[in-house]
C-alpha cells in the first residue's frame, strides 16, 4: 500500500520525539511525508494538491501531538478544507472509500491518566472519536491509533524504541506485512503490540 504521513507540529524543537519520528518516516522509501506546518505556515492550504495526495495513497496517517484532546490547529484546518463535500463524502464524493486511516499520537499525560480513574477520565481512543467518525463517514477504515504516552517524561531508551518502531510500522504497511485482521481487535497500538502484528 502507498503510505502518506501528514505530520502536524507547530513548535518543532530539537528534542521533540515527534520531530524524530517524522525524520525517520521521511527516510522510508515509498512513504510520503508532509510537514504541514512547513508547507502552510500561513494556514492557506492548497486543497487541490492535498486531495491529489490523498488519491495517490492508500493509507493516510495523521502524526501529531495531542493538544487539548485534539489535533493541532493546522491539522484541523486541513480536515475542514480538504475533506470537501463531493470529494470525501456525499452521494457523489466517495473518493476516499476503501482507504485506511491511522492516527500516530503522542500525549503529555501518562497511560494511567487516560483511564476512567485517571485525571482525563477517558481512554485515549475516546478522545480520537471525531477522527474515527470522520474516517467512517468518508468510507475509510480507522485503524487503532499508534500511541506514545508521557512523551515528555519517559526514559530516553523507551522513547527511542518508539521512534525506531515507527519506520518499521510504515514499511510493514507499505509492504502489506501489517496484519490488519489481527489489529482490529486492539483498541490502541503500542510499540510492544507491533511485534505481534508485523509479519516477516
Amino acid at each position: 500500500m502507498r503510505v502518506l504521513v501528514l505530520f502536524a507540529h507547530p513548535a518543532q524543537r530539537k528534542k521533540s520525539i515527534n520531530l524524530a519520528m517524522a525524520e525517520r518516516a521521511r527516510s522510508v522509501d515509498g512513504v510520503t511525508l508532509v510537514d504541514l506546518y512547513a508547507e502552510y505556515p500561513r494556514f492557506s492550504i492548497h486543497v487541490d494538491r492535498e486531495q491529489q495526495r490523498l488519491l495517490e495513497h492508500d493509507v493516510i496517517i495523521f502524526q501529531f501531538p495531542l493538544f487539548w484532546y485534539s489535533t493541532p490547529a493546522l491539522l484541523k484546518q486541513w480536515q475542514d478544507l480538504v475533506l470537501e463535500y463531493g470529494f470525501a463524502y456525499g452521494p457523489s464524493g466517495k473518493k476516499l472509500a476503501g482507504k485506511h486511516m491511522l492516527a500516530c499520537v503522542t500525549t503529555g499525560g501518562r497511560r494511567d491518566d487516560y483511564s476512567p480513574t485517571g485525571g482525563n477520565e477517558h481512554p485515549i481512543q475516546d478522545f480520537l472519536l471525531p477522527l474515527r467518525q470522520t474516517a467512517t463517514l468518508c468510507g475509510m477504515e480507522f485503524l487503532p491509533p499508534f500511541v506514545l504516552h508521557a512523551a515528555n517524561h519517559i526514559e530516553e531508551d523507551r522513547a527511542q524504541a518508539h521512534i525506531d518502531a515507527y519506520p518499521q510500522l510504515l514499511a510493514a504497511l507499505r509492504d502489506d506485512r501489517f496484519d490488519l485482521q489481527a489489529a482490529r481487535s486492539y483498541s490502541t497500538l503500542s510499540r510492544d503490540d507491533l511485534v505481534h502484528l508485523i509479519g516477516g
Binding site: P10, A11, Q12, Y37, F67, W68, G108, D113, N152
Partner: protein, 637 residues
C-alpha cells in the same frame, strides 16, 4: 495700449462683480455675465469701440465649450443612457420644437423664425441645470439622471440645428451666405463635398494618432505650460480647418473632443482648456449683454414677461407627460420638468447666427435674448417650487422616495510598482478604480491592460476633483514624493470628511505626518517587504517556516505598537519645529526608541517562546485526581 488695458479692466471688473453677485443670488454665472455686459454696454457705454473684435474673439468660447462637451462624452455612459437619451431627449426636443413652431406661426412669425424659436426653446441650460443638480446632490437621483440624459441629447441636437439655420435662411429669403471666402467656394459640388469629408476624417485621424504622441512627448518632458499651449493650439487649429472648408468651427471642435474623450489626457485637457473656455464664454455672454437695448426692455416688458412664462409653461407641459411615460414618476418627474424649463446658453448662439443670417431683426433678437435671460433668472424659483412639490408628495406618500446614492469609487494616486499591485488586487476583487499618475508613459502602459487611468499631477486639487474626490469612498495615496503625498491626504480630508484614506509612508517620521494630515491607514512602503526578506533569511538559516511566520508576525506587532506609543511625542515635535521643545522631544524619541529596542528584544523573545510549551521535565503536570475537575494545565495534556 492704454485703450486695450482700459477695456480689459472694464470687462474684467464688470465680470468679477456681476458674476459674484449673480452666483450669490443663486442665478448662476451665465446670468451674471449677461448682467456684466449690460453694465458695460447700455449702462456705462464703454463697450462700443472694439466690440466687434471682442465678439469674434469670444466666439472661441463656444468652440471650446463644444470641444469640452465632446471631451465629456463617454461612449459607455452614452450607451448606458441610450433609452433615456433617445426616447426622452429625442421626444422632448421634437415635441418642444413642434409646439413652439405652431404657436409661433399662429401669432404671426414666419416659419423660419418660429422654427428657430423652437430650436432655442427646445434646449435647456446645461450649465445652470447641471450645476444646480450637483450643488443639491441630486445628479444621481432618478430625476437628475433623466435630466442629464436629456441635456446630453440636447448637446448633440445643437449640431444639426447649427447646420439647419443656413439652409433655413437660404430657403427663406435667399440671402447671401455671409461666409466670407472659403477654400471650397469655387470648387464644383463633388469636390467640395469630398474636401469637407477629408477635413472631418483628418480631424478624427489626427486627433487619434497625431495629437496623442505629441501630448505624450510633452508630458514626458514635463512642459506644463506647453501642454496647455498645445491644447489651445489643437482647438484653434480645428476651428481654422473647419472654417476653411465651410463647416462650423464649433462642430469641428466637438468632433475633436469626442476623438480625445477616451484618451489618457482627458482630465488634463479639461483642466487646461476649462479656464479659457470659461473666460471666453463669459466674454461671449458679456457681448450679448452689451448688445441688449434697455429701451427695448422698457417698451416691451409685458411681451417679454409673457413670453418667458409661455416658454416655461410649454416646456413643463411637454416634459411632465414625457417623464411619466418614461417612468420618471412623482417627485423625480417634477424635478425633471421644472429643472429643464428654461432656455439655455446655446439659445444665444443660435440667436446670433439667426441674426447674422437675417432670419431675425435686431429688435426681435434683443427681445429673445431678454426672454432667455429671464428664463434663466427664473430657474432658481422653479427649483424652489420643485422643493415644495417634493415635500407635498413625500407627505402624501408618507415615505421618502429614496434617491439612489452615488456610485462608490476608489481613487489611486500614483501607480508605480506600489500602486499597481494595489490596483491589480482591487480589480481582481471586482472593484472599479480611477487611476492618476503624472508619468504619461506609465499611464499609457496601464491603459494597454484596459485599466481606466488618467495622466496628471495627483496633488493638483482640480485633477483630484475631476477624478471624483468629493464622491469617492476610498483614496489610496501611493506616490513617491513624500511632501506631495501629505498634501494630497490633507486636501482630500478637507474636501471629503467621510472618505477613507490609505497612504503610503516613506518612513516612520512620514508616518506621523500622514497621520496628522488625516490618513486612516498608513503603510510604510518598505516595511512589509523587508520583514518578508528577513523571514526568508531566517528560513534559509534553517528555521522552520512556521516558526519564521510566528516571529515575523510578532515582530510586526511589536514594531507597530512601538510606532503608536511614540506618536504623541513625534506629533508634538513636528508641530513646533522652531521650538526648543523640538530638540527635547527629539531626544525623548531617541530615548524611547533606544529603550524600546532594548525592551523589545526581551519581550520579543518572551512572546515568541510562549505557545505549545510542554511543562518542564520532571514537573508533574497531570491533573490531581478527583480533587478538581479543572482541565489539565499546559497545552499537552
Amino acid at each position: 495700449m492704454d485703450g486695450l488695458a482700459f477695456y480689459a479692466f472694464a470687462y474684467l471688473a464688470a465680470a468679477v462683480f456681476a458674476v459674484i453677485v449673480s452666483q450669490r443670488l443663486g442665478l448662476g454665472t451665465v446670468v451674471g455675465y449677461i448682467a456684466a455686459g449690460v453694465i458695460i454696454g447700455p449702462v456705462l457705454q464703454v463697450s462700443t469701440a472694439g466690440s466687434d473684435y471682442l465678439e469674434q474673439f469670444s466666439e472661441f468660447g463656444i468652440v471650446m465649450m463644444l470641444f469640452l462637451i465632446g471631451l465629456e462624452i463617454d461612449p459607455q455612459m452614452v450607451w448606458k443612457l441610450r433609452a433615456k437619451l433617445l426616447g426622452l431627449g429625442g421626444l422632448q426636443v421634437a415635441a418642444t420644437i413642434g409646439v413652439i413652431t405652431v404657436v409661433g406661426t399662429a401669432i404671426g412669425f414666419t416659419w423660419q423664425q418660429s422654427l428657430l424659436f423652437g430650436f432655442i426653446g427646445a434646449l435647456s441650460s446645461t450649465a445652470i441645470v447641471l450645476q444646480t443638480l450637483e450643488e443639491k446632490g441630486m445628479l444621481e437621483s432618478d430625476g437628475g439622471r433623466a435630466s442629464f440624459a436629456v441635456l446630453l441629447f440636447q448637446d448633440f441636437a445643437v449640431i444639426p440645428m447649427l447646420a439647419c439655420i443656413p439652409l433655413m435662411a437660404a430657403a427663406g429669403n435667399a440671402a447671401p451666405a455671409g461666409h466670407g471666402s472659403t477654400l471650397i467656394q469655387h470648387l464644383p459640388g463633388w469636390a467640395s463635398a469630398l474636401l469637407t469629408l477629408a477635413a472631418v476624417a483628418f480631424v478624427v485621424i489626427a486627433g487619434q494618432y497625431l495629437s496623442r504622441p505629441i501630448f505624450r512627448l510633452i508630458a514626458l518632458l514635463r512642459l506644463r505650460e506647453i501642454f496647455t499651449a498645445m491644447a489651445l493650439l489643437l482647438v484653434v487649429a480645428i476651428a481654422l480647418l473647419m472654417s476653411a472648408v465651410g463647416l462650423s468651427p464649433a462642430l469641428g471642435a466637438f468632433l475633436g473632443g469626442v476623438v480625445l474623450a477616451n484618451s489618457e489626457f482627458k482630465h488634463e485637457l479639461q483642466n487646461d482648456v476649462e479656464p479659457f473656455k470659461g473666460l471666453l464664454l463669459g466674454l461671449f455672454f458679456m457681448t450679448i449683454g452689451a448688445k441688449i437695448d434697455l429701451g427695448i426692455l422698457r417698451d416691451n416688458w409685458l411681451v417679454i414677461f409673457a413670453a418667458t412664462l409661455a416658454l416655461a409653461t410649454i416646456k413643463v407641459v411637454v416634459l411632465l407627460p414625457l417623464a411619466w411615460t418614461f417612468k420618471v414618476r412623482t417627485a423625480a418627474g417634477w424635478l425633471f420638468a421644472l429643472g429643464l424649463a428654461q432656455a439655455g446658453e446655446f439659445g444665444f448662439v443660435l440667436l446670433s447666427i439667426g441674426q447674422e443670417r437675417q432670419i431675425l431683426t435686431g429688435q426681435i433678437a434683443s427681445i429673445a435674448i431678454l426672454v432667455i435671460t429671464m428664463g434663466m433668472i427664473l430657474t432658481p424659483a422653479l427649483f424652489a417650487i420643485y422643493a415644495r412639490i417634493a415635500i407635498l408628495i413625500d407627505n402624501r406618500q408618507g415615505q421618502n422616495e429614496a434617491d439612489q446614492p452615488d456610485e462608490g469609487t476608489i481613487i489611486i494616486a500614483g501607480v508605480g510598482r506600489f500602486g499597481q499591485i494595489v490596483n491589480r488586487m482591487l480589480l481582481a476583487n471586482g472593484h472599479k478604480t480611477v487611476i492618476l499618475d503624472y508619468r504619461a508613459d506609465v499611464v499609457d502602459d496601464i491603459r494597454r491592460f484596459g485599466i481606466k487611468s488618467f495622466f496628471g499631477d495627483a496633488s493638483r486639487p482640480d485633477l483630484l476633483e475631476s477624478a471624483g474626490l468629493s464622491k469617492a469612498d476610498l483614496l489610496i495615496v501611493a506616490i513617491d514624493d513624500r511632501d506631495r503625498a501629505t498634501e494630497i491626504v490633507s486636501h482630500a480630508r478637507q474636501q471629503n470628511p467621510n472618505i477613507r484614506i490609505i497612504a503610503r509612508a516613506y518612513d516612520r517620521l512620514h508616518h506621523y505626518e500622514l497621520l496628522d494630515a488625516g490618513a486612516d491607514h498608513i503603510v510604510r512602503e518598505l516595511f512589509g517587504s523587508s520583514v518578508e526578506a528577513a523571514g526568508l533569511a531566517l528560513q534559509s538559516l534553517g528555521m522552520h517556516p512556521y516558526e519564521v511566520e510566528k516571529r515575523k508576525s510578532i515582530f510586526v506587532d511589536e514594531d507597530v505598537a512601538g510606532l503608536n506609543r511614540m506618536a504623541p511625542l513625534v506629533d508634538q515635535s513636528t508641530r513646533v519645529s522652531d521650538n526648543p521643545t523640538f530638540i527635547a522631544g527629539f531626544k525623548d524619541i531617541g530615548r524611547v526608541i533606544e529603550s524600546a529596542m532594548r525592551g523589545e528584544r526581551t519581550t520579543y523573545e518572551e512572546i515568541v517562546r510562549r505557545g505549545w510549551s510542554p511543562p518542564e521535565l520532571g514537573e508533574s503536570h497531570s491533573p490531581p485526581i478527583h480533587t478538581t475537575r479543572a482541565p489539565p494545565a499546559g497545552t499537552e495534556p
